[in-house]
Symmetry: C2
């Protein structure tokens, strides 16, 4: 029995990975699954200068771009890796000199409160971020607890030192999402209030409490947006030491004169100001910054040690642990310390018997992120399912979440992949939620008619393109989701519903045009679309993928897919071509959310629909090609540098793919207990499961060239199929693998 | 001992009194001090047509003008008698035919959802309102419980019958106060949501639950205001049977097809949707409209029977009971059935041990409305004081309310007259609140410096006009308020603070210019303002009054005022002139909030600062002039018809003046236990106090001509001063008065 020794794995995490270009990660401080992500924003909303938007706002989904030279300030909520933007709440910025109410621009930082900075004086590690702001001359250190952001400012000059609070600041595609702000000076060290926005979350309020370590000497609030008449604005000097302000565009400035040391604690709540105060006093009672930072680091070390892995290179190790770090950023905790949270119905609920989470990017995360959590943190994954069921209970549409965050359904992307997360947990015997209730919610969700061609899908057994766009992607994903529901029905011995959903899980067949060997859009009259471009992503019935990629989306039944596509050899040829063909630039230009190097041949790793594709060789006579393929993808798509991610990390999905793949197995069809085996890139790893069991992965003769599995033994018994079951992995023990430079073509052959 | 028999006094209430021109009352349904005032709005916000505002929005403070020919719909919250506007929440309107989302205009009602109506088919009585809407052909009946509005619609045609919900509708000076709306279809008979506004209440949210007696057959929500991008609005048919909507400008329509009978219950809460649902199920569990209407009427009859009064004419009786009705409309109940309410700090509070109220128009109501409640409903008045103290506890400014409504301080008018209400209750031995806590809140309030020249007042012993406008009014009212605090200090035996506030109560003397015999603005250099017009209301250092009226504002010490103004004879001459002089029209034009007939000579009864003035004769050698004067004012200023009020009813203050005066006594200086005696207009009255005691007022030889008191006996003992104390009144018994056509000049003489 190996004894787990906790090592300081935080040193192998580089939070800057993915912060350049399309990764859309943030470098700031947070704890695992923390509510607060306290991070520098280098730009956020689009700024219109001379009729031109100065920044491509899409790049600022996480608020930060590594190439930028200025920091606007530090805000408390950030998505990790999304392709759509929101959040960026409650910005603070230390300043001095004359008050500047606006951030200014990167090219003219002196015209606003932002500051230049250099990466040499910037540092990030799990739970910690620091930077030197050059204009105000301030050393900034940040850390967090679950619900509180903690700032430490060291001003280098004892003069006119201030902190600016910008409640207008936010991250979003459109420049103005503020609906309302309210702020009060409770006493000379405490500010409370809320910010209400209409962003990607349609209706959202963040309540806050801001506690300062030193007394505010002077202060002012300003409403920077026109508002309906309020007589009293004429009566009083409301911008100087007037202790309350409300309006659409509130900002504030707090002066600390010659004070040079200042700590600030910013607590958030979705419930109320009282909730924020309760979170503040419960989580952060003292003023010892280093202790908070140590506590955050300790939480990360404990989490990261769930997998102790060694690699050939330190770059690989950093990539692995940064992937693990990114996989543990979400879904995020979404409730006050007393369990209260604002629900989808905009009412206050209490999470009874579970921890409530938000930010479910399910079209992405059902693939590998939730299976990873289900494997390594099953109780937490069950709580996430309970959070989805609470969403269902609160849904006026009677649907499980599609893409939900902060008590809002934003309906992004397609499918109803909550059912995949549920089915996966059920077949893997995760007992942390009510199966019958989850099954009923899944069935009801799948029978809605208003949603994205789902009514037509039930009527036509496919989604007609004339009735609902991106129709093929929808049919394929609905079929997979229905297969997931069939697996629940099987578990629950509901024969009649098993039949219904088994049948629905085969509807993908109705999209296949055998005359060309591709999935192809059809119309409600049954005809296939005539003009059809199998390489194009736009207008061809697909979303974030073309027919070459998406035609392979039958994770629930690859064998039938292979048969439909002409059998083993023709299918292998399709896969081989996918990875090697030249995709003309004009097609790349259509591909969303990724950089040029997010594509390998015509295989788009930077988007999700093909994440299972490299593993499809395992269903053919040439399973060693999966091994070559994933060993090729790993270093190409994941690099230990700021621009190391070829596409959005998508709330941990890209990272979870890395984790599974580098460990040598992948859940290509969540809802099945099977993992497809590939060539691991680890030299050695121990997985510590939460029930105390552990799995050791010993890899002999690991090297960059030795990319092929020669043999694989589980607890001494040779593995003769290209798959491992969930229980084989979680029962623990030792997987011993020997690698070689050439395929062992006899391995996994019947 | 007289036995109280409850008579049907509701028949003597005409809710239309004051609905024409400046009374600003509403005719709709409500219960005593009810949270919900469900009333027709004939117009509300200004409509810009061809560059001209089509309606004078000031006329629509209560949403209704008697001369109008159309009704826009029925909204659930209304001020009674204010001179500034707000509320008008959650408008419903029965319609049929093609959906019209906008109200249209009075001149073109067919262009909107509004309808014409005629007064012949309109009826209003306490707790009940009905009208026939001509275009949709609907008989509408309305009643309420405390927190729920109840609608009954009888459609005359069984076709396309609908109910329109307009969450944009509201009452306000500016056309657009909506901040945000959220609405959900919970099931086919229940809608929930909230409306958030930035009106006179700066930041306010009304949560609602709307329950229908019949299932909604089809429905739609529409966002009529541009909003930040929300992708899903493109994905779904969000305007047809889509069960959730959020945005700045939400409206909804609910179709009931051929149903002709429909009941709707609309519950409100300041706390949450759950609060609204709790109020709904607690107060209105059944669907029997008549029972709700009977219950509302019964509450009114019980309340109105607190005073059983007989008059010479039925018009006088109607005027009296309508005044009593208007006096019992506010302050209004402001908490859910479980005691929760949103406080000034925008947090949820629970009223522990008291009932919480809102809408404190204190500059008006401290004069007679609160003294009236303190006399007749002392426990309720104590709860109102507790509500003020809760406001104080929640105030970032550490001030008692000035003019507060719905968890907002709107800072309207001047003074800190909460202290008057508190002092009056204390000197009259109202034990329903904590004296020490109330005293401390009063002292702290009076020592703020930011407020309306109050810092300068403390420094200069008057408010210099160059530092704060309307300076004389402020000095005079602060002096009176400080006298009130001195009376609290006396009660609490705080000698040092008694001295402080006694001294401050004399600061009014610093505004008196003995060279002209008027109060006069001074500058911070001590000089009086040179160009000074004693008749003008604007720019002369006064607000809602000129020097002729306001110079008499020393209610705390009329004797010293008389002495300052040159003694008994010169003072009497000043008063005589006030009531008889001709005020040129140009001066009237400057006078706010009243109609031409709100002025008698130069005495402005339609505004409040002179309400005590007719009683000042009691401090002179000619007290019988008070009697002639009030008997002259009563019929001139109060008539039993829609335009019967000469000025805003001001949340019951004008009505409370009527009640006291017609009963023959008036609290000219709240904070003193004394009431000034005048000639009653009642023939006979019994006041039923809440402790079971009662006071009978027997008036012999009462007639229009017999306006002078000949004799007055309290329980058989002659009254020899022109004043009665609070205990003399509340100890009960019989006041026997004999009237005559000429003054008994010996009465009340020393």
């Amino acid at each position: 029995m190996l004894v787990a020794q906790t090592s300081k794995l935080t040193t192998f995490v580089n939070p800057f990975i993915g912060t350049q270009n399309a990764g859309h990660t943030f470098p700031g401080a947070t704890v695992p699954f923390g509510s607060v992500q306290l991070s520098p924003d280098t730009d956020t909303i689009p700024m219109l200068v001379n009729g031109q938007y100065q920044k491509d706002v899409y790049r600022y989904c996480a608020g930060y771009q590594y190439e930028d030279s200025t920091i606007v300030g530090f805000s408390h909520t950030h998505f990790s890796g999304t392709g759509h933007s929101d959040l960026g709440d409650i910005l603070l910025m230390p300043t001095n000199g004359p008050i500047q109410w606006n951030p200014g621009t990167e090219s003219h930082p002196e015209k606003g409160y932002r500051s230049t900075f250099h990466h040499e004086k910037e540092r990030a590690s799990p739970g910690y971020y620091s930077v030197f702001l050059e204009e105000p001359m301030v050393d900034v250190k940040l850390t967090t607890s679950e619900r509180v952001g903690i700032h430490q400012y060291q001003f280098k000059q004892p003069k006119d030192n201030q902190v600016l609070l910008d409640l207008c600041h936010g991250i979003y595609n459109y420049s103005d999402k503020n609906v309302w702000c309210f702020v009060r000076l409770e006493n000379d060290t405490l500010i409370t209030g809320y910010r209400q926005t209409n962003g990607w979350a349609r209706t959202r309020t963040v309540y806050f409490a801001i506690s300062f370590s030193k007394p505010i000497q002077q202060y002012g609030f300003k409403n920077t947006k026109a508002t309906a008449y309020n007589g009293f604005w004429r009566k009083f000097d409301v911008e100087n030491n007037f202790p309350e302000a409300a309006g659409e565009g509130i900002k504030g400035v707090f002066s600390f004169g010659e004070e040079v040391e200042l700590m600030i604690k910013v607590s958030l709540s979705s419930v109320s100001i009282d909730g924020a105060l309760l979170n503040l006093t419960t989580e952060c009672p003292h003023w010892d910054f280093d202790q908070y930072a140590k506590s955050a680091e300790a939480k990360w070390n404990e989490s990261l040690n769930m997998i102790q892995a060694e690699f050939l290179t330190s770059e690989e190790k950093t990539t692995f642990y940064t992937s693990l770090y990114h996989s543990l950023l979400g879904p995020t905790l979404y409730m006050d310390v007393d369990g209260q949270y604002k629900g989808l119905d905009q009412r206050i609920h209490k999470a009874n018997g579970f921890t409530n989470y938000t930010t479910f990017s399910l079209w992405d995360t059902y693939r590998a992120q939730h299976p990873f959590l289900n494997l390594m943190l099953p109780a937490m994954n069950a709580d996430m399912i309970q959070s989805m069921l609470a969403h269902y209970d609160q849904s006026a549409h009677h649907m499980l979440p599609v893409w939900s965050h902060y008590a809002n359904e934003n309906w992004c992307m397609i499918g109803y992949h909550s059912v995949s997360v549920i089915a996966d947990a059920m077949v893997k015997k995760n007992t942390g939620f009510d199966y019958q209730r989850a099954f009923e919610a899944s069935v009801t969700t799948s029978n809605q008619r208003f949603y994205e061609g789902l009514g037509a899908y039930q009527d036509y057994q496919f989604v007609p393109e004339d009735l609902s766009g991106n129709s093929v992607s929808k049919t394929l994903e609905y079929s997979y989701d229905d297969w997931c529901i069939s697996q629940m029905a099987k578990q629950l011995k509901s024969d009649s519903l098993f039949s219904v959903y088994q049948k629905r899980s085969e509807y993908y067949q109705h999209q296949f045009d055998s005359s060309i060997g591709f999935m192809r859009p059809r119309f409600s009259n049954g005809n296939f679309k005539k003009d059809f471009d199998v390489l194009s992503t736009h207008g061809q019935g697909f979303i974030e993928g073309n027919a070459w990629n998406y035609s392979l989306y039958v994770p629930q039944n690859p064998k039938n897919l292979i048969s439909m596509m002409g059998g083993d050899k023709r299918f292998i040829a399709h896969l081989d071509s996918l990875f090697t063909m030249e995709l003309p630039d004009r097609y790349f230009a259509e591909t969303e959310d990724i950089m040029r190097d997010g594509i390998i041949g015509n295989y788009v790793h930077g988007n999700e629909p093909s994440h299972h594709v490299p593993y499809l060789y395992n269903f053919t006579s040439e399973p060693w090609k999966t091994q070559a393929c994933t060993r090729m993808i790993l270093p190409k798509q994941y690099k230990a540098k700021p621009d190391g991610l070829g596409g959005n990390d998508d709330c941990g999905q890209m990272s979870a793919w890395y984790l599974f793949t580098s460990l040598g197995f992948y859940p290509i069809a969540p809802g099945s207990p099977d993992y497809a085996i590939t060539s691991p890139s680890v030299k050695h790893a121990i997985l510590h499961f939460t029930d105390g069991k552990q799995l050791e992965i010993k890899v002999n003769k690991q090297s960059a060239k030795n990319m092929y599995l020669q043999s694989i033994h589980l607890n001494g018994v040779p593995v003769d199929k290209a798959f491992l079951t969930h229980s084989e992995i979680t029962n623990g023990g030792v997987i011993e693998i020997t690698m070689g430079p050439k395929p062992n073509k006899g391995l996994f052959q019947p």
